[in-house]
Symmetry: C2
Subunit: 194 residues, 2 copies
């Protein structure tokens, strides 16, 4: 458990690149970006970029990894704090709230211009979160439907909903879209648990 001190230069470079990526995604979308754009914006040498990341996809993935970690943490907190059945999928609220708070960057990412790569990573992340949740409430009581299938279904559904909400005007309130998700997902889960 040593607190591995990471070289400041590395921290700075990574931070600069992540920041530039986010800024540029808002500006032109992810697909249209080149590595050159990113390093220009970050004012970082070409060689330096490739010393840290394999490609712009890699950089993006690393950014999403941070997001996942932060959401997982909030999920952990929510679970330990709340009652069990009532707060099923409690993390969804955090998710929608987070999306709403960072709505400009969020909408840029799920928008058509950012494209399929971003979305795929997001969906994977959501399925992970859902799986965690399903595992917790499943208790392995000899169900016919595999955990993984349920997670994929509900995770996929959540992603679809999130995309729809984000690509529209997001005029629906966080509470409402969250409620909608829960009313769609929980019956599925219960039905599969029989």
């Amino acid at each position: 458990m040593k607190a591995r001190a990471v070289d400041r230069r590395i921290q700075r470079t990574r931070q600069l690149l992540h920041g530039s990526l986010m800024a540029l995604i808002q500006e032109k979308g992810f697909e249209a970006l080149s590595v050159q754009d990113i390093i220009d914006q970050a004012n970082v040498g070409r060689a330096t970029f490739y010393a840290h990341f394999d490609s712009k996809e890699d950089l993006l993935a690393s950014g999403i990894e941070n997001l996942r970690a932060s959401l997982k943490e909030r999920q952990r907190q929510a679970r330990s704090a709340g009652g069990s059945d009532e707060r099923l999928f409690a993390f969804s609220r955090e998710l929608f709230t987070h999306a709403n708070e960072h709505r400009t960057i969020f909408r840029a990412m799920v928008g058509k211009r950012s494209g399929a790569v971003v979305q795929q990573l997001l969906q994977k992340m959501l399925v992970d979160l859902v799986r965690e949740e399903v595992r917790g409430t499943w208790a392995e009581k000899e169900n016919e439907t595999p955990i993984e299938a349920v997670s994929q279904f509900i995770g996929g559904g959540l992603f679809g909903l999130l995309m729809w909400w984000g690509n529209g005007k997001m005029r629906m309130a966080v509470d409402d879209v969250d409620l909608m998700f829960r009313r769609l997902a929980i019956p599925s889960l219960k039905a599969a648990a029989r």
Copy 2:
């Protein structure tokens, strides 16, 4: 409604390109393909390719368009032939069956190597099919949950399930995975219709 006779050369070229695309996807996945690969395999001139399609994505989309049309047709048949509530989401069977029959190409397409673009197109297609179905059974009876949201949720879920099934060994039988989908989706739909 004139039966526009399409020049044979055009038909041939398109067919050749589609065929080559499918063959190459099985071989190396979609992302790794270049336009050059495709026209080599098809034995078609470079200029000819760009006279028909803007890019390999365009070619792919046009291919998936065919698939969508054929699935929609089977969906239409299934609906006119079956009872209403009992055969809810009857098209899903067609879908899984179709995937199973063309399993080699299907698995190549949803595999990690083919990547996000293919998957995004597939998901869009599924949501379309689901929306059609939901519209049919919805009857606009003043529901709180918008049709579009439900379609996105269930379509996304179906996609997740399909991916999971396809990326695993597809050892689960068509009937079983279809049943699983229906047991997950129908409760959602019913719950949202309240």
